[in-house]
Subunit: 403 residues, 2 copies
């Protein structure tokens, strides 16, 4: 006899399925493809020389590099946590060191939120659409999803109220330039969400991966900041998910979570059990780099990404056939396209790669309820403006056949 | 109303408790303390210049550092996986690239094993004592532990057989120089464990954190290698947990898991949901360093650690009062002391820190059933021989009072 693996897997493994889209996207790593698929930052814009110098300094330091290479405390490198605490304070969120845990990107925060809060069959609230990675992080904990439609101003409040009446464990949202559809939640809607969730005793999970990347209009207060303002300056009802992956560099895998100390205490135990701590040397390097150039680097990113967003919106204006609509995001990395109902995004992707050398992510992957078959996510972050125009031209050529 | 966090936590959070020992050990970061507490490698022995040069090379490469700083595939950096596959082959474990996943140290493998296999109330088998970090990784998935006593040759077979009759999900063990007690499982016992587990259809989880650090005697075949030999060269019934933390350096957080492809497939989805991938740059650096000096560096480590182990055993021989016994490990980082029943390890630690400036880890933490109150784990890895002698002298001075 030998092990029958399918038989010994825990039931939660059933919620983890390979994505057909992931298989399709393996085909796009050819130079002739114009890809709007990856929701990733442009490597040409990474602060490479500052990073090189930061690693170098670690090995040249008087005390030796031993500390940077050794096990370290689970909570994270103290100077980095101090920087985060100070940065959050500037954004209206007051947290002491006992309210900060460094993680492997904000993806790990989502994983921990699932582990902390979801029991099998528990209801959780997400927007429709929502971030695919959040669904992947939550699903193994076997929740029942309640999906709230997104309007231009944010989640539909009547639907949220109805969902909260079902006693969900939390409401997960991306307030600014949401992945995938670029929507930003208005200030009034942020206040209303906090009103409703607080009244129901339901935590808000605020994922701010793109919040720093605003190209037009004014920065809106974080829901975490509104929560602090209502609670004597203390972060109370919101778990804030932060990351340096979009603002600095993803490969160091450094993000963080802020929450009330009683939540952070549990997350520290979880982090210790999961992988002890984030890479010591990478935390030290990230601290060095953000201390030097966080604000100036964001300015550089914004000028480039704004130009690309503008190029994508202009190209859609120029080439999109009637019946195709799209969002006009004020920031972030994504434009969201809604095609006529006759379009199936996954089938379109297969054709687009094969016939037109252009790629994107079909929107259905971002729907907990698998709706949105006719939606497409286009990332403009890694493509130069002239290539963006050409890619949109090709994609719209295909779309014309359906309208 | 606001969020009542205690009320919204999932039931699994109840299994995650802060350790009183961890609180005590926060007190030992003073130079006058001789600490045998940390099960950590000696930072003076890290391959620091090779690491410095590896980071430097990444930033000087012709193609630029972009790839090292960008998101990368979940499975891990391909050349590192190739190195691991080749290394495992030399150790009798044949796995292709589809049998290798790079993780954040082997701690993350243990976390994933828990998530993959344990449903609430499932039985799992561990040794008594066993690695504390494994208990921390498994407990949030709410298992029922079946603890098998350890004899000199390894787990007691009659107890294992009785445990397997209860249809557990897996048997977790450390074959070589086990943390905490330094025991090595004999070849005959490895074969017998594999016989019994395979007959019962129960997977073995083999954690080899210390296996390369053997100071006397001959290396024994891995249980993974025995499994391969029985199954036409194919790893079938064992999940192998590997790490570079003890052989190279911990702070890069690079370990790996080998298993049958159908298991690795699931673990890749789990890794993607948990934190996308291990740090790209750190994987590239680790690949560079292990390719250059893995074997020669292990030789250096062994010569130093052997000297320290010998110093600790000699000091115990010299100073230990009657009624105190200890293991004579052939490798690894730990000696395990059994004191008279009147000794409570945790109380002794508090006294040892306060009165004698010496620290260790009380053994009860390594018992799933909280037994072993009179046991102590002494790590010899970060202390020079003359300090080891002095520390053991002080500790034995205290122990004398109980005998």
């Amino acid at each position: 006899m030998s092990v029958d693996w399918g038989h010994v897997f825990a039931s939660r493994v059933g919620g983890m399925t390979a994505s057909e889209i992931r298989e399709l996207l393996k085909l796009i790593d050819r130079p002739e493809i114009i890809s709007f698929a990856g929701g990733i930052p442009d490597p040409d814009l990474f602060p490479t020389s500052a990073l090189a110098r930061a690693y170098e300094k670690i090995f040249q330091s008087n005390g030796g590099a031993g500390g940077a290479l050794q096990y370290s405390i689970t909570e994270g490198y103290t100077p980095l946590r101090e920087w985060i605490s100070e940065y959050m304070g500037r954004n209206g969120v007051n947290v002491g060191l006992d309210g900060v845990l460094v993680t492997n990107g904000s993806q790990q925060v989502l994983e921990f939120v699932g582990k902390l809060l979801i029991g099998p069959g528990d209801k959780i609230v997400v927007t429709r659409p929502t971030y695919l990675g959040a669904l992947q992080a939550f699903s193994p904990y076997e929740p029942v999803y309640l999906s709230i439609p997104m309007e231009e101003e944010g989640p539909e409040l009547a639907a949220l109220e109805a969902a909260l009446a079902q006693k969900p464990k939390f409401f997960y949202l991306v307030p600014d330039f949401q992945n995938p559809n670029g929507t930003t939640i208005s200030l009034a809607r942020r206040e209303a969400i906090l009103d409703l969730c607080t009244a129901a005793g339901v935590p808000v999970i605020e994922d701010t991966a793109y919040s720093e990347l605003r190209y037009d209009g004014e920065q809106l207060p974080l829901i975490s900041a509104l929560d602090c303002a209502r609670n004597g300056g203390v972060l109370t009802n919101v778990i804030y998910c932060g990351t340096f992956s979009k603002t600095m560099v993803p490969a160091l895998r450094i993000g963080w979570v802020n929450a009330a100390p009683e939540v952070i205490n549990r997350l520290v135990l979880m982090k210790q059990a999961a992988d002890l701590h984030a890479s010591t040397i990478n935390q030290m390097v990230m601290h060095d780099v953000v201390s030097q150039l966080f604000d100036s680097h964001i300015k550089v990113l914004k000028s480039h990404y704004k130009e690309r967003r503008d190029a994508m919106l202009a190209a859609l204006e120029e080439f999109a056939p009637p019946g195709v609509t799209w969002t006009k995001p004020e920031g972030g990395l994504f434009v969201w396209v809604e095609a006529p109902d006759s379009v199936n995004g996954t089938a379109l992707l297969a054709r687009a790669i094969k016939e037109s050398n252009v790629a994107f992510v079909p929107g259905s992957a971002f729907h907990a309820d698998r709706s949105g078959h006719n939606t497409l996510r286009l990332a403009f972050s890694v493509t130069k403006p002239e290539r963006i125009r050409e890619g949109v031209r090709r994609l719209c050529g295909l779309l014309k056949e359906y309208t």
